[in-house]
């Protein structure tokens, strides 16, 4: 297996086609604004963003595996490192770090220092309950589900709410044993 490290994610990012981050940022902003207009309730918007992220995640994992050429991670710790160092880098061009592991290694924090989703963004008073970047948690959840891991993801720090960084808490709920799609006698 190729070594997993920041360089690795960098190398992939350097070789994929890229677009201006502002187009991405503003398009995402347009989506959030549309959802706020349509759904009215901030809670519903959070849910819809998470759902959109999930839809992306279940497709994005294929591209991730194909381009990164990584093989199965030995444990959840390695998985988290992969997401932070390779996943974020190869799609968004930013690196993230993994911190705050719990004792049994099933729960950690992924910290984002740069986040292309939030350029130009400020939450108005009416949207204080909004998890603006909730699409990201959906992406991770969806992608991990496709590699047999059920996770629960929550925001613990959010710069739009005045924190010093973005931090997602990723909690491994269970590893779903892989099932073959066919039975022996078929």
């Amino acid at each position: 297996m190729a070594p997993a490290g920041p360089r690795f994610g960098d190398a992939i990012f350097a070789n994929v086609e890229r677009v201006n981050a502002e187009l991405f940022t503003l398009t995402y902003g347009a989506i959030v604004r549309q959802l706020l207009t349509d759904l009215e309730e901030v809670e519903e918007v959070n849910k819809q963003l998470d759902q959109m992220g999930y839809n992306i995640g279940i497709r994005l994992i294929d591209e991730f595996l194909a381009k990164s050429n990584v093989s199965r991670c030995v444990d959840f710790k390695e998985t988290a490192e992969m997401i932070a160092k390779v996943g974020f880098k190869m799609f968004l061009g930013v690196s993230a770090s993994v911190t705050n592991w719990d004792a049994d290694g099933t729960c950690c924090g992924i910290v984002l220092e740069d986040n292309p989703l939030v350029d130009f963004v400020e939450l108005p008073d009416t949207c204080q309950g909004l998890y603006y970047c909730n699409i990201l948690s959906g992406v991770i959840r969806g992608a991990l589900e496709m590699v047999s891991m059920k996770t629960e993801i929550t925001w613990v720090r959010d710069m739009l709410r005045g924190d010093d960084a973005f931090e997602l808490q990723v909690k491994l709920l269970k590893q779903v044993p892989e099932e073959y799609p066919y039975k022996d006698d078929e």
Partner: protein, 194 residues
């Protein structure tokens, strides 16, 4: 110091320096996001016209902001006030920033004086999109048409902007033409300015 991350304390959006606009994300990240935008809007409409209108609205919001951003960053808070000036601003500056290249062509409509067309062989947003047969002439370029309308409208050039597929000889995929039809007042003003 080694091991200390470069955490920045939170600052108000207006207190932060404006980015130079050189950052990039992967094309797939954008394509995934755009596909979700289209899919979500599909659930909100009954017909193609409405879907195009909603995509256009989303694009409009982007366009209005792009104009403000670019005028501030690249043009010292000035904007184009003449028709050809703003058209070439859209065709060159806006296109270059958003899509990494100037648009393939900018032409004046032959039949009507108030029509202009920006054409692109392979519009970025249509890159990974194929239109199902039952959706007829639907073009996701409506989003880009919305961006163009957002820029023009915010700059004081109200127009109706639509996206169309135009089949090309010898090419498998049609090109996309963004048709701009300016409001009457814009042409009258142009005429006055001489």
């Amino acid at each position: 110091m080694i091991g200390v991350s470069k955490m920045k304390p939170y600052t108000n959006v207006l207190d932060r320096p404006l980015s130079k606009g050189k950052l990039e994300v992967s094309l797939s990240a954008f394509a995934f996001l755009f596909s979700e935008l289209v899919q979500y809007n599909q659930t909100q409409v009954d017909n193609i016209a409405e879907l195009e209108r909603r995509l256009e609205d989303a694009g409009y919001a982007v366009g209005a902001r792009v104009l403000e951003l670019l005028c501030h960053r690249d043009k010292g808070n000035r904007r184009e006030t003449r028709l050809l000036g703003i058209l070439s601003f859209v065709h060159s500056t806006v296109w270059k920033v958003l899509f990494g290249k100037v648009a393939d062509s900018l032409e004046k409509g032959t039949e009507h004086d108030d029509e202009y067309m920006i054409s692109e062989k392979e519009l970025l947003v249509n890159r990974f999109i194929s239109i199902p047969k039952d959706m007829g002439t639907f073009n996701c370029g409506a989003f880009v048409a919305g961006i163009v309308r957002g820029v023009l409208d915010s700059a004081g050039f109200p127009a109706i902007v639509t996206a169309h597929f135009v089949p090309m000889d010898g090419q498998q995929r049609p090109r996309t033409t963004i048709l701009i039809k300016f409001a009457e007042e814009v042409l009258q003003r142009e005429a006055r300015l001489g």
